[in-house]
């Protein structure tokens, strides 16, 4: 990376509905995944509405004039449309002038970090303010193991070359080791397929994440000793935990996943937001790594400067976590349209 990029502010969104692992056990007799509960999209929500709220929060928290935004890059695997821009709908909802760059990424479950990576390069070369969003509520057939951990959330960042950033992105690296995907969604299908080849899946995960992370640290002259916080995207808590040596376990901060589950393209940015909110102190060093089957990993090296100020009426990630209503499995099926209505 030629120049560092500032993160001027961030915003999150988590729907209010939750389903507990016990509720799955009541219906299916077991729960597949190491999380406690997950967030569930509301009956009138989708990836676009979640993205709009996270983006609105990020803009208000940053305090920039939205007219100045020159780029919207959004990553999602659960857009209600397969042909139609998500970024353009977000721009209309926010009232941002339409002569700006609008980028949609839907290539994999790490589309949120792909959006961030592309956004960094564009803002670095063209300047201006970039609004980066990850938003997802992925579905698959009830009864699939992968379905158990699929949650819902959105997260957004405002990035720029200049200004007083709450944090700074100092470097980024991607890993594109070739693996045939074992988790994908075919064109025309509503649901995700996970072949559940556990050993292969873990092997691909470990290699992609480690490769991106090691290359990033090597190029930035870092060791895990120097890092204060790590977030690695995964489908639950176990997957990322396996990759980090016991010695450095306390640096891995995955608490948000315990509550929301696997939020697909939103996971990496939401994880970063949770570190900013709960953990980070001035000058802390953060490593953020995404992963998606058949796509690889993006790793980012971020230095934290100072806490974002709380704006009245703009909900923080903590307020979204506390605002919750548990629902029964039957209601969950209706909200996610997993049964025919």
């Amino acid at each position: 990376m030629d120049n560092s990029i500032k993160i001027l502010g961030y915003g999150s969104y988590i729907p209010m509905y939750r389903i507990k692992r016990e509720e799955y056990i009541r219906i299916w007799g077991y729960f597949s995944g190491s999380i406690e509960e997950k967030s569930v999209i509301g009956y009138d929500e989708d990836a676009i509405t979640m993205a709009v709220e996270a983006a609105n929060n990020a803009i208000k928290n940053t305090g920039i004039d939205k007219e100045k935004i020159s780029l919207i890059a959004v990553g999602t695997c659960s857009s209600p449309y397969s042909i139609k821009s998500v970024a353009s709908e977000i721009a209309m909802a926010l009232g941002i002038p339409l002569d700006i760059a609008l980028l949609d990424f839907k290539e994999s479950e790490k589309a949120g970090s792909t959006a961030l990576s592309a956004g960094i390069d564009i803002i670095n070369s063209k300047g201006g303010y970039g609004l980066i969003i990850g938003s997802d509520s992925i579905s698959t057939d009830p009864g699939e193991n992968s379905e158990h951990t699929l949650g819902a959330a959105a997260a957004a960042l405002i990035i720029s070359k200049s200004g007083n950033g709450i944090a700074e992105i100092l470097n980024k690296k991607s890993s594109n080791i070739e693996f045939i995907p074992d988790r994908f969604k075919k064109e025309g299908s509503k649901n995700l397929t996970d072949l559940e080849i556990a050993s292969y899946s873990n092997y691909a995960y470990k290699n992609s994440v480690k490769n991106a992370m090691n290359n990033l640290m090597k190029e930035s002259n870092l060791t895990l000793e120097d890092i204060d916080h790590i977030f690695i995207q995964g489908h639950d808590l176990k997957q990322p935990s396996r990759l980090i040596d016991k010695k450095y376990k306390e640096k891995l901060y995955l608490d948000i996943i315990r509550i929301t589950g696997d939020c697909g393209s939103a996971t990496s940015l939401l994880g970063l937001n949770s570190i900013f909110h709960y953990r980070a102190k001035s000058n802390d060093k953060i490593i953020l790594v995404s992963y998606a089957s058949g796509a690889g990993s993006d790793a980012f090296y971020i230095k934290f400067n100072n806490k974002q100020q709380k704006i009245k009426g703009v909900l923080t990630i903590e307020q979204y976590i506390n605002r919750k209503k548990y629902i029964a499995y039957e209601k969950y099926l209706k909200f996610k349209e997993l049964i025919e209505l």
């Binding site: 209010m16 509301g42 009956y43 009138d44 929500e45 989708d46 676009i48 509405t49 709009v52 709220e53 609105n56 209600p80 709908e89 209309m92 909802a93 926010l94 009232g95 009245k312 009426g313 909900l315 307020q319 605002r323 209706k334 909200f335 349209e337 209505l341």
Partner: protein, 140 residues
């Protein structure tokens, strides 16, 4: 089903997506949606686009039970059951008619409660999702 064509819906997008009102440059009255003639002083072509804050108070409400909803809301109602609609008095003084969301219509909704606008799916027509604003309990 009440048919609202795409061009008609599109013309009202600033109001539906962002609560854009028309402020009369002659008398200062807020018109929502913006009108050609100011509803107070009657002057023509004087309205300046002004975004409302999206904060307000429940002035009155009712609950729409199964069968009471217009057909375009039938699918949503299958998912959510009874839902509340309210007259919300915005902080700018205007009253608007909206759906409430993220709350239990029977237990949570009270006259006088503070609410804020939120971007949601309203209904689907001609295969196009019609988005707009609903209101939900305000959290500071």
């Amino acid at each position: 089903m009440a048919h609202v064509s795409i061009p008609k819906y599109w013309k009202a997008l600033p109001q539906k997506y962002r609560l854009v009102a028309g402020k009369c440059s002659n008398c200062g009255e807020l018109n929502f949606p913006p009108k050609t003639l100011c509803k107070k002083c009657g002057s023509q072509g004087t309205q300046i686009e002004t975004a409302l804050s999206g904060l307000g108070t429940v002035y009155s409400f009712t609950i729409i039970g199964r069968g009471g909803a217009p057909p375009e809301f039938a699918k949503m109602q299958k998912k959510c059951g009874p839902y509340a609609i309210a007259i919300v008095e915005l902080d700018e003084g205007l009253k608007i008619n909206v759906q409430l969301t993220d709350c239990d219509p029977f237990d949570d909704v009270k006259i006088g409660m503070r609410v804020s606008a939120v971007f949601r799916q309203i209904y689907e027509q001609e295969g196009v999702i019609r988005y707009g604003l609903k209101f939900r309990p305000y959290i500071e």
